[in-house]
Symmetry: C2
Subunit: 534 residues, 2 copies
Amino acid sequence: MGASPSDRVGGGACWGVEAAALMARNIVTRSSNYNEWYLDVIKAAQMADYSPVKGCMVIRPTGYAVWEAMQRDLDRRFKETGHVNAYFPLLIPMSFLQKEADHVEGFAMEVAVVTHSGLEKTADGGLRPKGELAEPLLIRPTSETLFGAMYSQWVQSYRDLPLLINQWANVMRWEMRTRLFLRTAEFLWQEGHTAHETYQEAQDETLRMLDVYAEFAEEFLAVPVVKGRKTASEKFPGADTTYCIEALMQDGKALQAGTSHNLGTNFSKAFDIKFLGRDNQQHLAVTTSWGVSTRLIGALIMTHSDDEGLVLPPRLAPTLGAVVPIYRKEEEKAGVVDFCRKLMAQLCGAERLASADARQAGRELLSVFSDASSNQAVVLDLRDDRPVEKHFYWEQRGVPFRFEIGPRDVEKGSFVLKIRYSGEKRFVNLSEATPEWLAGLVVEVQKAMLARATDFRDSHTVEVSSYDELRQALQERRGFVRCWFKESAEAEAKIKEETKGTVRCVPFAQAGGSGKCVFSGEETSEQVLFSVAY
Amino acid sequence: MGASPSDRVGGGACWGVEAAALMARNIVTRSSNYNEWYLDVIKAAQMADYSPVKGCMVIRPTGYAVWEAMQRDLDRRFKETGHVNAYFPLLIPMSFLQKEADHVEGFAMEVAVVTHSGLEKTADGGLRPKGELAEPLLIRPTSETLFGAMYSQWVQSYRDLPLLINQWANVMRWEMRTRLFLRTAEFLWQEGHTAHETYQEAQDETLRMLDVYAEFAEEFLAVPVVKGRKTASEKFPGADTTYCIEALMQDGKALQAGTSHNLGTNFSKAFDIKFLGRDNQQHLAVTTSWGVSTRLIGALIMTHSDDEGLVLPPRLAPTLGAVVPIYRKEEEKAGVVDFCRKLMAQLCGAERLASADARQAGRELLSVFSDASSNQAVVLDLRDDRPVEKHFYWEQRGVPFRFEIGPRDVEKGSFVLKIRYSGEKRFVNLSEATPEWLAGLVVEVQKAMLARATDFRDSHTVEVSSYDELRQALQERRGFVRCWFKESAEAEAKIKEETKGTVRCVPFAQAGGSGKCVFSGEETSEQVLFSVAY
């Protein structure tokens, strides 16, 4: 449907025909072909690439830096809520998958199976597997089973609880139809696994981590989300209850951005996680798990990016700004570059600039951390490329701020600030450009981007009161469709078949009261959000 | 041989018989059984555990936090030298291993092989692999081949060079005899892969990264290392030249702590990494690779730890300090805990303490970051355990500083500081305990630990001038054995067979001049370091 949330003035307008030609070559518009636009944005920003292994992608530096920024921020939130990280093995014995009945249904059919522990040479100089394993090993699709096996050893008494462990890891689920970041055979994620004394504590943990995800999405990614509960047909196999955050993409499709599961005693029973309680009796621990993955990068792209390419929110952007000298004659270069270096020194500190000079000697892109704690960089672009090429280079990589400096700017002692998300241009005196000024810009733009995305989400959330209306809204991809609905696996299957739409969640925020289910007509006290989803 | 570099006063002496009994139960001494001591230290600190999958370990939170600290520091050094991170697939097509002839010799025999893409149920309710792959896939033992395949696509012109990419990843090499952290089937590491225009540039990069590793080891791990070149028989298969840093453990055995390879054009040829040069001709790129792994955790343990357990250097320690209230009567508790909280607020900031209170409500171990950028924490230990248990808890986890506070201390407005590595005890006024004071302690102790380890290394480096002396020194595990040696694969094989010793490196730091090879008697200008190695 190609909704265009921005009415931005193209920052490239001044470059005229040549610029337009370059753009046309790289990225199709959202309105002409949304799916192709998504892949073009990724390609132009060099975020990811297909690999020689079917279904697996290479996450290129621009894409991986986004994941690192997400990891850094999320990890701090996990630790602030008392969690610690660990690392569990990649491989799981096949028999483990059978211990939890629902779990095996969910994963058994799509796992990568290791059957041999080596290779040997064939007569014709080729290679073939050798050393067949007694029991096949599976590349983890998720790690509830391994955590369960270890927790049963580590937990003896209520004093060993809670166990609050997270891991950052790669997982594999063989997928037939893959899509960069959104659905790939191997992907990166974090999976938290906790064990508790009581059901209430586990429930508190499940909801606490859902809040952590929601705050992270809104504060750091500038992606507004709806918190809610999954219906029984959409929950994680093996969970008592699954909670989620759901985001809305620019094409009106929803994207599940994170899940948090109360697993009850399902895995404790399967793996015998028992403890001696305060009452001197044996009890089963209550466990939870929660995760987000590299598909968040897909959500980030589809929330903010525009027809010119990637747009990153400034709190997250690995490259916060690019300082771009612009000159036409060689004799102008020295003065312009000198001015650029003054700006770099003001924004990042002279000491950090000197250290980068020493350690990156000869490089055309000089990268300097803007701030000791954030890991965000400002880059001085010393390449001999034409201005129009540099313009698109930084534009397509989503860098929030560009500082452009030409000979006229040097004379005036000022520079041009270009803001990626809005296309806005500001003239700034060199003396104003302090770290505090930059920090202020970050806050301002971050807030504006969340507001814009929230406006989009809200204006694409519709309410319907009949099944016909629901069907039509889903077919037109009008976004989140809110309606009274009485949970029923059969009804959901039927609706999915007819509309491709699913219940994204039963939102925590309910209007109250009751109404008639759009499908069955029965009276119900719950409204749900339907949408077609990624 | 159980060398005991420390003459420390046992911090636990004051706890008397009970403490001694606890210690005896947990950790054997280095002199009685070094190998068992190593495993006991890991177990007592809960750093790692064996997993249900043979050869694979679980890195538990205490161990993983050490790896995270290493990652954080190394990653910053990589980025400061202009590198970026990416993520390449876990699986490699079998045919890739055959493209570089030496490479296949090095790895083909010990890789995990994925042959199926799913499971199916058997008639008796079990599971079996299904969906056999057309070509088996290998779990990466290292990723030169995949980087090679992608670099050949990404590199077209000299303007695309240098490519300076690192990845943090898990790798697998099936091992028959495993040992926690030092040799496990799956391990974590980073692998840098770079491509350059000229041989000289690649050589500069190879040595630059070796310097980064050496600085990291000495400044951050307080582990002194020797930089040098590997002989042809010890180098990485497929490399032109391999450089390494070698450390010496307390039992007189050496440990290779990092390697950096100049791969020449070996992988460019195999994967066709070609570029249009400044001279308008096609050239092969010159590539490098360099890596360190979780075996560094083994090196860290064996360099610093003592008979009481783990000892961590304060720049690295994830938990920098533990504040331990000590009281015998319930009515003393409130006053002591209040005083502890004052100390926490002074060291970490009142705001950070309040935030931890809110987010970790009810937890017995309250963890507060000491510093916004470092990710190191100070923990307030509110458990009701006996003081002796708390003593060993923190002692065995290697936490550099303990702040012990009892009712008498509260009266005097002071506390007892216990320094883990030396066993030293200091009495400190509460008013002195500022963040700057803590930072000063970190610098002081870090320096002292490196000095102690360097003294040990230097006093365990011997020089020999005959093969008999070499053999004896190696048999007695006297540490690094320096001698004149003329490189020869046959001589090295023979010496290894007779003594288990290998040439650890040809050190960069040479005495100069020449001498007679201890093995062949030939004149040579090179001295090497022999040692038995992990």
